[in-house]
């Protein structure tokens, strides 16, 4: 048994034409790049992966993020999947819907504003995920949620998708 982990690169995130996070670059000693999710509007980015060696069970999405300006508050992160089995599913890929989203509320740990946090989202709505499916992974900030209380952008610097191979 092993855990398969796939990295989602912020530089490769894809967006719809509206409501998307800005690609940003900062850093003094090395480039810190990420996707800046707004505090006032829901924004989302998507990645396509293949569920290689997927076995059974849930999917875990880790979101590594930092606050652009805030030193406190909560961020509500969402993750959703849309899985298609090539050559088997007849679903039109361009009209495919996402499965129900899963969320986690992650709290800024304070002390230093731009410290790195990791939000862990347990994705239980798997959209009938099967091995070698093509899977669109959507990660959003639910900024309009009353539980999302952090001011300023939340910058996603990396995310991963992991699952068991058995």
């Amino acid at each position: 048994m092993a855990t398969v982990t796939q990295q989602l690169d912020p530089g490769a995130g894809q967006f719809l034409s509206t409501a998307f996070p800005a690609f940003v670059r900062a850093g003094a000693s090395f480039p810190v790049v990420g996707l800046a999710y707004d505090a006032a509007a829901n924004e989302a980015a998507s990645w396509l992966i293949r569920a290689v060696n997927y076995g059974t069970g849930g999917v875990t999405v880790h979101v590594d993020w930092y606050a652009d300006t805030a030193t406190a508050g909560d961020v509500v992160w969402q993750a959703q999947l849309a899985a298609i089995t090539p050559d088997a599913d007849t679903q039109d890929v361009e009209t495919k819907a996402l499965a129900m989203l899963n969320t986690v509320t992650d709290t800024h740990l304070g002390t230093v504003g731009q410290r790195l946090h990791r939000a862990i989202i347990t994705v239980s709505n798997l959209d009938s995920l099967a091995v070698d499916d093509d899977v669109w992974v959507r990660i959003a900030r639910d900024a309009n949620n009353a539980a999302d209380t952090m001011a300023g952008d939340a910058v996603l610097v990396m995310a991963t998708v992991s699952y068991s191979d058995v």
Binding site: A22, R25, R50
Partner: protein, 231 residues
């Protein structure tokens, strides 16, 4: 992200201009309708020589003015991002334009060939012509790109083609640096530009992923894969 221009004194300039055939691609968004010619970028020699992308006098109809045929592009909706590629090949000019999705529309015409000596972004050499808008992912080649190359270049910040790249300004920040490696730094105007949200494109292509056999208890995806960000 993108650079925001809003005053005539914001414009970036450079004395390094393309000569002969060239291609320029960028994303642009108008923030307000000035009901006047609104320049995005261009090459000039005073006001007597110009080949530049701007709006028409209505403030929203993107047009390439080249001292030949005025090429008409999209009639911009304020606040909407447009991707525009211009290919100048001698006296022939082609404009490729579209919004964030769908195929690009093509327009062709003619242009003059008189030598220019100034490159501008966010302004022109004509008094009162101002861009109140955002520009991102600007790339300029001293070469003719194919329609397929232009589509690919407009799909991401990073240049896919580096051959003959004369200047590259991603504008992730409001800055004047040329990231082509040619050192064609722009000169900032007397007033400061600002950094604002950019177009809906990724930085670059998805990196290759290594997926190990399930028997190996190891992760996938090379964490150290080459990803050339500029400091």
């Amino acid at each position: 992200m993108a650079v925001r221009f809003k005053a005539s004194t914001d414009a970036y300039t450079s004395s390094v201009v393309p000569s002969g055939a060239f291609t320029c691609t960028c994303w642009v968004q108008l923030v307000s309708d000035l009901n006047y010619w609104t320049p995005v970028w261009g090459i000039f020699n005073g006001t007597g020589v110009y080949r530049y992308l701007a709006t028409n006098s209505d403030g929203t109809s993107f047009t390439f003015f080249g001292q030949g045929t005025n090429l008409t592009g999209p009639n911009a909706v304020i606040g909407t991002w447009y991707r525009i590629g211009i290919v100048v090949n001698g006296t022939n000019v082609t404009m490729y334009h579209g919004t964030a999705t769908g195929e690009l529309t093509t327009a062709t015409g003619t242009a003059g060939t008189a030598a220019a000596n100034e490159f501008r972004i966010g302004g022109s050499t004509y008094t009162n012509e101002v861009l109140n808008g955002r520009v991102a992912a600007m790339k300029l080649w001293q070469a003719i790109l194919t329609p397929e190359e232009i589509v690919a270049e407009l799909a991401q910040y990073q240049p896919r083609r580096t051959a003959n790249l004369l200047r590259y300004h991603p504008f992730l920040k409001a800055e004047t640096i040329d990231y082509s490696g040619n050192g064609n730094t722009l000169t900032a105007g007397s007033t400061a530009t600002t950094t604002e949200d950019g177009p809906p494109i990724p930085w670059g292509p998805i990196r290759p992923r290594l997926i190990l056999p399930s028997a190996a208890a190891a992760p996938v995806s090379p964490p150290g894969a080459f990803f050339p960000f500029f400091p």
